[in-house]
């Protein structure tokens, strides 16, 4: 369970384990454990299957997008366009399976295409982000700001800003389906997290991502194809945003281009930061992002379940982010 942050160069072994190292290295896990204990003590009906499912479905999309964001941040970049890409995927899918874009030979074809085409489209836009960053050498925050501004507009233009309502169980399985009582989206999330964590630790691509984030110039001199690696990272972030967009509309039985993925970039970045990934790049943990998202969600749930208004939970979220990043800094002194 102790997946410590993956670092390049290999983690220095601390000679002595003091409380501060423990707190900064495993702070996220400790915080999560504390939160669960507190909830077991004070929140009624906390230890139920339903509570688990509610909290898991709340974090699913944040974690899926957060995985892509973790990889992007690991290279020293940022992706502000994720929410807008979710809106594009969410607007495209109903247009496809409702047959508004082109005639469908068979409903099943429509559903299959509704899964594939939107995700490919957002993947292409992610690739475009990567192209701006690597070829035109535009700073990531500005390069992805372009699609942050234009992307939601594109989704709104597609749908003319209208709400698209549908009822299609075979498509909505991605957001509403259950396997052995576990929400399908949670399983999808776990698979994505596990795969990305493995990739970051065990594959050449993963090590290259961290090397670039650690020191881009050195990585280039060491012969790492910096541009191509970065390009692929933004592509992955785009693909994952598309999947998250499909989950959101499937869950709501409706696609609203004005709302799908709104503010997602901030939620994802917050989860990444709380999870222990270094925001300047070079040190990243995908499992940490999952833990970070769970912490933020559990704090909100704890406050709501105990009668604190949602707006106050926002203030608490802000405090957690600052605290987490501040603790992280202490370990780098």
């Amino acid at each position: 369970m102790a997946e410590t942050a993956t670092t390049l160069p290999p983690t220095q072994r601390a000679a002595k384990v003091d409380v501060r190292t423990l707190l900064t290295r495993h702070g996220a896990w400790i915080a999560l454990a504390l939160l669960i204990l507190v909830n077991l003590a004070i929140t009624p009906n906390f230890a139920t299957w339903q509570t688990l499912n509610v909290n898991l479905t709340q974090v699913c999309t944040i974690v899926i997008v957060g995985v892509g964001m973790t990889l992007v941040i690991a290279t020293g970049g940022i992706d502000l366009s994720v929410g807008a890409l979710m809106a594009i995927a969410g607007a495209l899918a109903p247009l496809i399976f409702l047959g508004k874009l082109f005639p469908l030979p068979h409903p099943a074809v429509g559903i299959a295409l509704a899964f594939v085409l939107p995700v490919l489209a957002t993947g292409a836009l992610g690739w475009f982000n990567g192209w701006l960053v690597t070829r035109l050498r535009i700073q990531p925050i500005i390069a992805t700001l372009v699609l942050f501004i234009a992307g939601r507009g594109i989704a709104q233009v597609f749908t003319n800003g209208n709400l698209q309502v549908f009822n299609l169980p075979s498509f909505q399985f991605i957001g509403l389906g259950r396997v052995f009582g576990i929400p399908f989206q949670a399983i999808l999330m776990i698979v994505i997290v596990a795969f990305a964590a493995w990739m970051l630790r065990r594959t050449v691509f993963g090590r290259q991502i961290l090397a670039i984030g650690g020191n881009e110039r050195a990585a280039r001199l060491a012969g790492i194809p910096v541009a191509s690696v970065k390009q692929r990272v933004y592509l992955i972030s785009g693909l994952l945003s598309g999947i998250a967009g499909l989950i959101v509309i499937a869950r709501n039985s409706a696609a609203d281009a004005n709302l799908v993925g709104l503010g997602m970039e901030l939620d994802a970045i917050a989860a990444v930061a709380v999870g222990g990934t270094l925001l300047t790049g070079g040190r990243a943990t995908v499992v940490g992002t999952l833990v970070g998202a769970l912490i933020i969600q559990l704090v909100r749930y704890t406050l709501l379940a105990n009668g604190v208004p949602d707006a106050a939970a926002l203030v608490a979220k802000a405090a957690i982010i600052v605290l987490a990043v501040w603790l992280q800094r202490q370990s780098h002194r």
């Binding site: 535009i138 500005i142 372009v146 507009g153 203030v315």
Partner: protein, 324 residues
């Protein structure tokens, strides 16, 4: 970049945005009746003055090499506080909104300079906190302002035939321009953005100046919130979403480099007007009836515009970098 090419680059950035603004105005003047009529000009200025205030603060922050994501929700908080205080008169409403903005700015300054946290993440957190505070104070709904106290004059009134909010923005820009170009504070802001370590080694009070810059950005956002409340007659806790990115776009379009050290207050104003005019021209174009573009096209066109500008900037900087 060497000095000559940097100057060239700055020059193109600075005059490029003015030329584009001029081209857009001439286009509108030739194509539409009443485009340069007093009514249209004054309403464009009235509406965009709050964005101009936010962008001015952002301009200073970006010149130091930082970023302030909290301005949108700070404006929302400012609008709620000033709406709540508006029954007591113009001054309490104005000062209340300003104080709310300064409070958020002080939080940013503390987190960034004392806790040494990246501006990006620090202001992301205060953005959430300010939004939460606005919702708590407003009890999750719009707070209507008092129409008896004269508070709405701050947004809807005119002074010497010119909208009051535009006066406020104009004065803020004049002061901002003087401060940046003629005071040691302004030169320190530029020095920090150019090279913070070097600025520190030269004995410049980097932390104090940075703290003041974030304080100013918060205050200006609070002021924008006051105008928002006065103009639309309500304090709006959920307004301001995306304002920060609009402001960043305006600053970048104005030729200010995001890496800091370079920037101009006047070009930022031109950037704001440029992005604002796109919406205005879209309205006129729909009025002509040839095409019917929904308001949603606005953001697509703005995004495309931003892309065009940064692509040109990137090209220029790449070309000037090569010989070095």
């Amino acid at each position: 970049m060497n000095t000559t090419s940097l100057k060239l680059f700055q020059g193109i950035g600075r005059y490029g945005v003015l030329l584009a603004l001029l081209a857009l105005i001439v286009f509108g003047w030739l194509r539409y009746d009443n485009f340069l009529g007093a009514f249209n000009v004054l309403s464009v200025l009235r509406y965009n003055s709050m964005f101009a205030l936010v962008a001015l603060g952002m301009c200073f922050v970006i010149i130091t090499g930082g970023i302030d994501l909290s301005v949108g929700s700070t404006a929302a908080l400012g609008s709620v506080v000033s709406a709540l205080l508006s029954p007591y008169g113009v001054l309490p409403g104005l000062l209340g909104g300003l104080a709310a903005g300064l409070a958020v700015g002080a939080c940013n300054a503390f987190i960034i300079t004392r806790l040494n946290i990246l501006p990006f993440i620090a202001t992301l957190a205060t953005m959430l906190a300010a939004s939460g505070c606005a919702l708590l104070l407003a009890e999750n709904q719009s707070v209507s302002v008092s129409y008896e106290s004269g508070f709405t004059e701050l947004g809807q009134g005119d002074f010497l035939g010119f909208p009051v909010p535009a006066w406020i923005a104009l004065i803020a820009y004049l002061v901002g321009s003087l401060v940046l170009n003629l005071t040691s504070f302004g030169r320190t802001v530029l020095a920090i953005g150019g090279n913070e370590d070097a600025a520190r080694l030269m004995g410049l009070p980097a932390n104090r100046v940075k703290a003041l810059v974030y304080l100013a950005s918060g205050g200006l956002a609070g002021l924008a919130g006051v105008i928002l409340a006065a103009q639309f007659g309500a304090g709006q806790p959920i307004e301001g979403v995306g304002w920060e990115l609009f402001a960043i776009a305006a600053v970048v379009v104005g030729g200010t480099l995001l890496t800091g050290g370079v920037g101009s207050v006047g070009s930022t104003l031109a950037g704001v007007l440029l992005l604002g005019l796109i919406f205005n021209i879209l309205n006129f174009e729909n009025g002509l009836g040839w095409i019917s573009l929904s308001a949603y096209w606005q953001s697509v066109i703005r995004g495309a515009f931003l892309l065009l500008v940064v692509a040109i900037q990137a090209r220029l900087s790449m070309r000037t970098e090569e010989p070095a």
